[in-house]
């Protein structure tokens, strides 16, 4: 028996900001969930199960927050699952929810991911001092900056490419009312003049720290037929993982990322992603990861990704727009960031992306990664049901 087709019929986000001091964690997730239900014109009783994700419990210090959030998400008396795969968790959460629909376990599933970074200290949560161990010498940016340098060496990319990505994504964010950073006076010169934090990564090439949540309503073919607005159809979805560090790991273009993309393309019947995919919501927390992932995801040959960025191909009006929403560079509620990529991909193929809509987007990839480039989750959504 073939799988049940999975449709996205509701998307909801909070306005991502530095601190939502007016709401509890329950209030934050509720806001996104309610908006997703409203988009689908459904109510709590229409939901069969809830799948929730967030980054480590240590970030906010609420152990197993899914238990406390059951009331807020209408999950009482229903199955509720928690997913955790570090920064990629928002994507993985959506994929777990989708699998419940695809397997016909449930007809309609609410999936949601969140982070309330203002109540947490991610830097601390990720770098606890461990007895006998050498203290870590750098934060998250310091972890990734050497890999960026390795990419620059491997590809011969000019050192301005990162600033082009940051400038593009911040301008895209101006068209997205939910984006955290709205830098109306952004210029390329300002990006290039911003302080070098972890050379070669500049301040303006890093993501912010945000409070936010994102939710989607996933449903089966019958649910999609009842939906008030056009659904997004899932054409493929996959997860892959690999160790953080191992002998032979390619830190610039991890094998798990390549394998994950290949699996998604196989499911979706994509043989030439550069030509057959219209746009990408890509997980780019540091600007240089755009050209790196363009290669990892098969949109460019090894060493060639930066040329797409430099030529403007990934601009909102380019041939392969990337991070139309402004991306992680403009909003980063960590646990939600992956799901925002997936949801924004869905909005594009539904024609619901508003000012940052790509005209005629029919197939869009949502991408997330996490940990030390060790967890990957992706889905490809289309405006038409899978063939």
């Amino acid at each position: 028996m073939s799988k049940e087709p999975v449709a996205v019929v509701g998307v909801g986000q909070t306005k991502h900001v530095a601190a939502r001091r007016d709401v509890s964690i329950a209030g934050l997730v509720r806001e996104a969930a309610r908006r997703a239900l409203d988009d689908a014109e459904l109510d709590w009783a229409d939901i069969d199960a809830v799948v929730i994700g967030k980054a480590p419990d240590f970030f906010e210090g609420v152990m197993m927050p899914e238990l406390y959030l059951a009331d807020a998400l209408g999950a009482v008396g229903k199955p509720m699952l928690r997913v955790h795969t570090a920064g990629s968790v928002g994507g993985s959460t959506a994929l777990v929810a989708a699998s419940l629909v695809a397997a016909r376990v449930h007809g309609t599933v609410l999936t949601l991911a969140f982070e309330k970074q203002s109540e947490s200290n991610a830097m601390w949560g990720l770098s606890l001092p461990i007895p006998f161990q050498q203290p870590l010498l750098a934060g998250a940016g310091g972890f990734f900056a050497p890999h960026v340098r390795a990419y620059m060496r491997r590809s011969g990319a000019p050192d301005t490419v990162g600033s082009l990505v940051a400038y593009k994504n911040r301008r895209n964010a101006l068209k997205n009312p939910y984006a955290h950073l709205h830098e109306h006076d952004i210029t390329l010169e300002k990006v290039q003049a911003s302080p070098m934090l972890w050379d070669p990564i500049r301040y303006s090439e890093t993501c912010p720290s945000s409070d936010g949540a994102c939710a989607m309503v996933l449903t089966d073919r019958a649910g999609a037929a009842r939906a008030p607005r056009p659904p997004a159809w899932m054409h493929g979805g996959a997860m892959r993982s690999e160790p953080t560090l191992f002998a032979g790991k390619d830190c610039v273009s991890p094998q798990a990322g390549k394998d994950c993309a290949a699996d998604v393309y196989r499911q979706a019947g994509i043989t030439d992603p550069r030509r057959e995919i219209d746009a990408v919501e890509m997980y780019v927390p540091f600007s240089w990861y755009e050209p790196m992932w363009l290669e990892n995801l098969g949109f460019a040959d090894e060493g060639e990704g930066w040329k797409l960025t430099e030529a403007g191909v990934t601009e909102l009006d380019g041939d392969l727009p990337v991070d139309m929403s402004g991306g992680v560079l403009s909003s980063n509620p960590i646990g939600a960031s992956g799901m925002i990529r997936f949801a924004e991909a869905a909005l594009q193929v539904r024609g619901q992306a508003g000012e940052h809509q790509v005209d005629g987007a029919r197939r869009v990839l949502g991408h997330a990664y996490g940990g030390g480039s060790q967890f990957f989750s992706m889905w490809l959504v289309g405006s038409e049901p899978p063939g």
Binding site: A19, R20, R21, D22, V23, S24, A26, G27, R30, W44, G61, A70, D71, A72, L73, G74, V76, K116, S118, E119, S120, N121, W124, G125, L128, P129, I130, P131, F132, Q133, Q134, P135, L137, A138, G139, G141, G142, A145, P146, H147, R149, A150, R153, R154, P195, M196, L197, W198, D199, P200, I201, P243, L245, F246, A247, G248, K249, D250, C251, V252
Partner: protein
Amino acid sequence: MPEVLTAPLVVEFPFTRSLGPVQSAFLTGLRERVVLGVRTADGRTLVPPVEYDPVTAEEIRDLVHVGSTGTVTTWAWNPAPRRGQPLDTPFAWVLVRLDGADTALLHALDAPGPDAVHSGMRVRVRWAAERSGAITDIACFEPYAADDGDDSQVTVHAGEFEDPVTGIVAAARLDYTYSPGRAQTAFITALTDRKLVGERCPSCRKVYVPPRGACPTCGLATSEQVEVGPRGTVTTFCIVNIKAKNLDIEVPYVYAHIALDGADLALHGRIGGIPYDQVRMGLRVEAVWADDSRYPDHYRPTDEPDADYDTYKELL
């Protein structure tokens, strides 16, 4: 083989919580010696109050003032209170249904012993002398004779107070005993002789330093010890320009991935003995030990020519 190391590890952090409207009213009420519950659409009163109806999922905001006396619904004796618990003498954990409430609140009951506690007993709030808008504003519950008067009147309450509490600090503390395990213990022990000793996978022959006791690729235990370094190659690096609060290192400094000679995976270290802006990929370096540190303090350039990119590109 040396004994496996262990050490205490205490993790503490003062998390902050934004309360939202309902918890804000509840905790501010406690500060004012008022216990608030919330009324559901079907007329039940939930104490402590929640923001969303557990049955219908509807948002609920109708606050009511319930009694500060109530009835124990069930309990468990705690003979040995731990750090941070409400009382430092033995007490009962109790679920108390306050007069006017339909649900029970978890708290502590000050009682002389388990024989003095039973389900159905009447109790009342003992307020803390100093109150800040926290659950600890209820110091505990205490036994209460019914003829002391009835406080069960339930009245609608706007939940509005002067200077409301909108956030709290929730201090978290976790006590662990940490052990790095056999392989790391061997590595750490060798460091005292200023040697860097890794382990080789019996299958793929790759040398891991620091060793992990197993090869993450082959899934096999490792035991063959291999001394590596002390020289190595900078495979890649970044220049750190922001000072970490727990590190006594002047910025800017270079944080590098260093492939020690004989190792199949780079480890991380600081580069010194050369201006930060002259560090480059392929630079040959060696470990420099300080008197007081377990690990190499940093790595400095040797007099060798730079390594060819081809010799380390697979390690990136």
